[in-house]
Symmetry: C2
């Protein structure tokens, strides 16, 4: 398969080169660029399956497209229903995304298994690597379809979600060659599942700042979203004295600034006012209505709730003082999911074995672990990405970091012992 | 014509009642409500002409639709080319506007002339009252067509402005029965024009606050508009640490608040950030690009320019400190137009004669005087409106205030002497 391979393993530097080359090749399965656009159950999704299947076979796994659109590679032990450790990430991308978000977590564990195989190592437990069909939630207004299917948590309702063409998820799966009626049957048995590990680019700048190739994720952040509505008083912008105005935008501006100040001053809490809309939004009219969103994320529920309380207090105080009618509605909440201690510890040991410093950090983004934690213990390994950039054509990792992460995962898999 | 009239004039209270009744009747010439919608060269414009013509005839004037779509009522002296004082306002409304903005300034001077006629008074100069076709600029992306025609300042380019149906102003005028090729011929002779006075609702709350029925306008405000662009740094809202963000919206919020503070603290300066747009405007994305408008209005150019300097300083300081790229572009400027001292003084005397307290205020809105000042001295009389509301179906004046304004105008016309 590769000239530089021998039965004692790949030479130093080779794993990273192979990894980058494979991800470059995978990126070709994309709608026209810039960047990578590969949506769930799309022609690009269809066309990349043989490539991933090939990687699976090189790793000693048998590929199979399941009822939920996941491409699953299983070793004989897993196929036989033995205790199995699951790895994987998503094959899909955002519109004009990068080469690494998702696909790294498919290609890297397959390469790690292939390298272990080359070293002649047989793992004492079953493994499977999953290329989840959908995690980004771009095509359908639902997400984590593949991981929810494995966790047995898909609702029939989700299969009715429709894309902008009016095609339902169920219809798309059938067209893709899947049998959505068999989704309940692919739910994994928790008793025989050892855990789930996802390798993913960090999507943030923390590892770059600390100059570490990899980081061990402690938790997937909890998220809550709110919609704030402010109603001021319409008025002619030329004829209403400044002192008599109830300008909803000026009120919103004071809130945005105060909310940012709370977020800047609180550890382990991030957030953003990402969406703000004004009515009537005309150059010569006093803004009468402003709506804006507040998103808060923290790995600690208590910190997130304190943040929410602070935001509520700001909205109430500013709106009352400025005589604006106001409303704050919670539109979404998802609790944080902690990574399993034993997976974090085992990843730490693996880092130490390959001479990597240990860094723990939390994930501010959601991942398939949010669904998989209903099934089993989860863990994540982050890989440094350039400038923290993700969801962008310029998203990049180095071959060296890819190699390091692969070797950490190999060490992790070697020392993992089934209970 | 009216049973309560005699040759010594209308009884107290009657003028206000007639005025309100006439404006109620005029409001029926509207697209389906709420409120009044009567656009330039529309069927509603066409259909209201006989009503206004009737008022003109009652006032002793001869109505004529001119080449620019104005309905002009002229007394014999004006028709003969004598020294003429012009009054009037616009017949058109905004979409779902009120009964008074514009039409008050047509109906009121006609009623004042009719009342003077009933008193047996013959003015020693010519008068004409104009119902300008367009001031609001709703149908065509151009405005003040009628007053610019009288002032001789229409450009051929303006006649090519097209409405959303693709109909040019020129075509609309021809369909309406006008001869746009004759527009240059209707420009008035400055030598024979004594001045221009417009009666208009205040569109603001100042007269209501001071409890005065009318106010004498000192100037039509100068206006300038700017577009500010802020470019921050895109980033995942979950994974970018707060301290590493360059959030364009947080920067904009600080600017909006500081600009409002400058405006609140400066006399004779009003302004607004009326339009603000965010990119990408998504709940979970750090705003990377914000554009917003700043409009500044003042009757004093120096004050407006100081305001602009302050806004520029704020934008520069905040953007630099927050490491946002920025641009501030001037998109529109119109200098203030002062009302003529002799018209203001004469209106003051008229107020005193009818036992009205004198109040001077500036107009924060633009009016036909902006065009007419190129031709002649201008003045404006504002009438108190409820809650400062305009451009709204609930826009209201009282019959009492209408009566007061009519009697102030009658006194003004009686004492006006041609030079």
């Amino acid at each position: 398969m590769t000239n530089n391979a021998d039965h004692t393993g790949f030479s130093k530097g080779k794993l990273g080169q192979i990894l980058i080359k494979r991800l470059d090749e995978a990126a070709l399965f994309s709608e026209p660029g810039p960047g990578v656009t590969r949506l769930f159950c799309s022609p690009e999704h269809r066309n990349i399956l043989p490539l991933i299947s090939h990687w699976m076979e090189q790793a000693g796994l048998t590929p199979e497209l399941d009822a939920a659109g996941n491409l699953v590679g299983r070793c004989p032990k897993a196929q036989a229903g033995g205790k199995t450790f699951i790895m994987g990430s998503h094959q899909d991308s955002v519109i004009e995304g990068g080469k690494y978000d998702g696909m790294l977590g498919v290609a890297l564990p397959l390469l790690a298994l292939e390298a272990l195989r080359h070293e002649g190592i047989t793992l004492p437990y079953g493994v499977e690597v999953v290329a989840f069909g959908d995690e980004e939630g771009v095509r359908f207004p639902t997400t984590l379809v593949g991981s929810k299917a494995l966790a047995g948590s898909i609702t029939p309702n989700q299969l009715e979600a429709r894309d902008t063409q009016g095609i339902s998820l169920k219809e798309a799966l059938i067209t893709f060659g899947c049998s959505p009626e068999n989704i309940p049957a692919i739910a994994r048995d928790p008793v025989n599942t050892l855990g789930f590990l996802e390798v993913h680019i960090e999507q943030g700048p923390i590892l770059e700042q600390s100059d570490h190739a990899v980081g061990i994720v402690t938790a997937l952040t909890g998220i809550e979203r709110h919609q704030v509505t402010l109603i001021g008083k319409a008025g002619h912008a030329g004829t209403t004295p400044m002192s008599m105005r109830h300008d909803a935008l000026v009120g919103a501006a004071e809130m945005v600034l105060a909310i940012d100040s709370v977020l800047q001053g609180t550890d382990d809490l991030v957030g953003v006012v990402g969406k703000l809309d004004i009515h009537p939004n005309a150059v010569n009219v006093i803004p009468a209505l402003v709506t804006f969103t507040v998103e808060l994320r923290s790995p600690e529920a208590a910190i997130r709730h304190q943040g929410r309380d602070a935001v509520e207090a700001i909205v109430k105080e500013v709106a009352t003082r400025r005589e604006l009618a106001f409303d704050m509605e919670n539109t979404y909440s998802a609790d944080a999911v902690a990574c399993a201690d034993w997976i974090m510890q085992s990843l730490e040991e693996a880092c130490t074995q390959v001479d990597q410093p240990v860094e723990r950090l939390f994930s501010g983004a959601g991942h398939d672990g949010l669904a998989m934690q209903a099934l089993t213990d989860i863990g994540m390994l982050f890989v440094r990405c350039k400038a923290g950039l993700s969801h962008h054509p310029d998203e990049t990792i180095t071959a060296n970091d890819g190699e390091t992460a692969t070797r950490v995962l190999m060490a992790f898999l070697k020392q993992l012992t089934p209970p």
